[in-house]
Symmetry: C2
Subunit: 350 residues, 2 copies
């Protein structure tokens, strides 16, 4: 492995000069600069990033801005990924801080951004919900030379370092394919179980999944109707009543259910209570309760998009970029969509 000293000798200059060239710090005669650059190129020299890390002896801070979350919420999963990655990058001098905002208040988002700016972050991870506010924010970051990474959603600016997202539409399309796998020809009804509370939401991200699902149905099973069933997540008895009502009029071979949020375990509990294991049920996200439902046969498939891993990767690559100056390989990363059933889900717990 080559060192800075080797390069310096080859070029007939001192270590300092090489250092100045490598880091573009100026104050070096054009002629020598070119010579050093040439040798660096030819030899493929890259400064030892570990030595560099301990020499700089800096502490970086990454601030992550995501929506507020309650227990069981999808954003809780994301936050978990951020925290996990935070522990891992601690050893190379990167602290990770999470700042949350109310996703229904642009005001609150501004405050979060301003607060982050005030802390003077080395890097930022942001899950944006408000276009204008985000644009203003990332412009300021760019002006200050602070790298930022989008997760979940991205804007169409090109200043971001990376983007880690979930293909929501595609996961809905996939869900439709998986759900209708079984006896495709005979399917004429699908129940889409939805959460009452979500009815009033301005922008429910799972609507994209629904759109993908609907398009698939339209393309492949035009004769099939999709019926919405609204349930209250906090009232077990009401769920039972509503579902009982639906199932009464539904022939046994038409019990196809899908939920686009992560709460399929709610329906699973109902099915378990009624001893109905033969239904065709598809849900999303690898919550423990969902996995349990897979194992006991009440849910057929779970599609896992690992938003926790996405968040963790965002932090990890940004941390490596800051601490090791590691260039990023690609800008856009879309999560894979794992199809889980009772026979393979045990192998997904890390």
């Amino acid at each position: 492995m080559l060192t800075i000293k080797d390069i310096a000798e080859k070029a007939g200059v001192s270590r300092g000069t090489v250092d100045r060239v490598i880091h573009d710090r100026g104050n070096v005669a054009e002629e020598k600069r070119r010579k050093v650059l040439q040798i660096v190129e030819d030899s493929g020299f890259r400064p030892n990033e570990f030595a560099s890390l301990i020499a700089t002896n800096k502490i970086h801070s990454i601030f992550c801005i995501i929506p507020q979350y309650f227990p069981g919420d999808v954003w809780e999963i994301t936050a978990g990924g951020l925290t996990d990655a935070g522990k891992k990058v601690e050893s190379f001098g990167v602290r990770v801080e999470i700042v949350t905002y109310d996703q229904y208040s642009i005001e609150s988002f501004r405050e979060a951004c301003d607060s982050v700016l005030a802390h003077g972050p080395s890097g930022v991870v942001v899950a944006p919900m408000f276009r204008a506010g985000t644009l203003r924010f990332v412009r300021e970051l760019s002006a200050r030379g602070i790298p930022y990474v989008y997760i979940d959603t991205k804007l169409d600016d090109d200043g971001y370092l990376e983007f880690f997202g979930l293909p929501m539409y595609e996961s809905g399309y996939l869900g439709a394919d998986i759900l209708t796998q079984r006896c495709r020809a005979g399917i004429n009804t699908v129940l889409n179980v939805r959460i009452k509370r979500d009815k009033d939401m301005l922008s429910d991200p799972t609507m994209l999944r629904r759109a993908g699902f609907m398009d698939y149905i339209k393309e492949h099973l035009p004769q099939c109707t999709v019926r919405d069933v609204w349930i209250n997540p906090n009232d077990e008895d009401e769920i039972a009543r509503v579902m009982d009502g639906e199932f009464e009029s539904l022939p046994e071979n038409q019990r196809n259910l899908i939920m686009f949020n992560s709460r399929v375990h709610l329906v699973a509990s109902y099915l378990k209570k009624r001893g109905l294991t033969g239904c065709n049920v598809v849900g999303y996200d690898m919550l423990r309760s969902n996995l349990r439902a897979l194992k006991d046969g009440t849910v057929s498939f779970i599609i896992a998009q690992h938003s926790d891993l996405q968040a963790a990767n965002a932090v990890r690559t940004l941390a490596e970029y800051l601490a090791f100056r590691r260039p990023v390989a690609r800008k856009d990363h879309y999560s894979q969509m794992d199809i889980l059933n009772k026979h393979n889900c045990d192998y997904y717990t890390l």
Copy 2:
């Protein structure tokens, strides 16, 4: 972050003493040893592994022993993973070398082992095929204090550092479930397409998959018969003839095919030639040709076990263990089994 100097001051000793205690190098008074140990425990001190890496300034070599392979072989995938990981760990002073042996000659395996021992490796990754020979080999490694990692198969000794394997039986079981998903009730025939050459093999690892598959069928679809179809991988015309013959007597809704090796693309080519996209076809391994078959609709599902990633992880963790003294978290790692179809496979290419 604490440093050795901090610990030394707290304990009222010098850096050297702390160093001796941490690395169990002896030559330190029992009383002080205990005191230092206490402080290290309490403060959760871990020496900065990056500083440690550059200070030791050692080069480690990992030797990997795997069966010989030809283009398109499964072991080629494994070798790819080893090589990839080798590039990544180069930066922390670990070289990776691959040594192959003829998996039908115990003699050749011995030679490979002896050759590796002669090179004085820092660590070893081995995919064992011969029990006795491997046992002899790993005993010698243990005696010399050289850590070793199993991939693919493991022995029942307990000296290994880690094991990275594929749950073959389970993947066969899963394959059966996926294959028979569609119109489960009506299935009465499955064709298991097999490679003629493999007929003579003493131990074909894919036989485990077949066993898992058969057990599933026995348990869930006892009325279903599994018929073997033998093809010659190098003769496209013969494949067509054989398959034509099989299909002639097979009603359209009984065209269920599975292959337990990675060659499902052979059947896919045939199906494509005949314009048969409605068949129910399951195969294994994420070869590019298999993915293509998924996309064009001739193959329904591919089960991917990522033996390349397994190999890469083996090298990575061993390298980190050697270079950074990172303790290993778990001994046994089984690969996940990803279910791929035409709608999610694009998201799996790293």
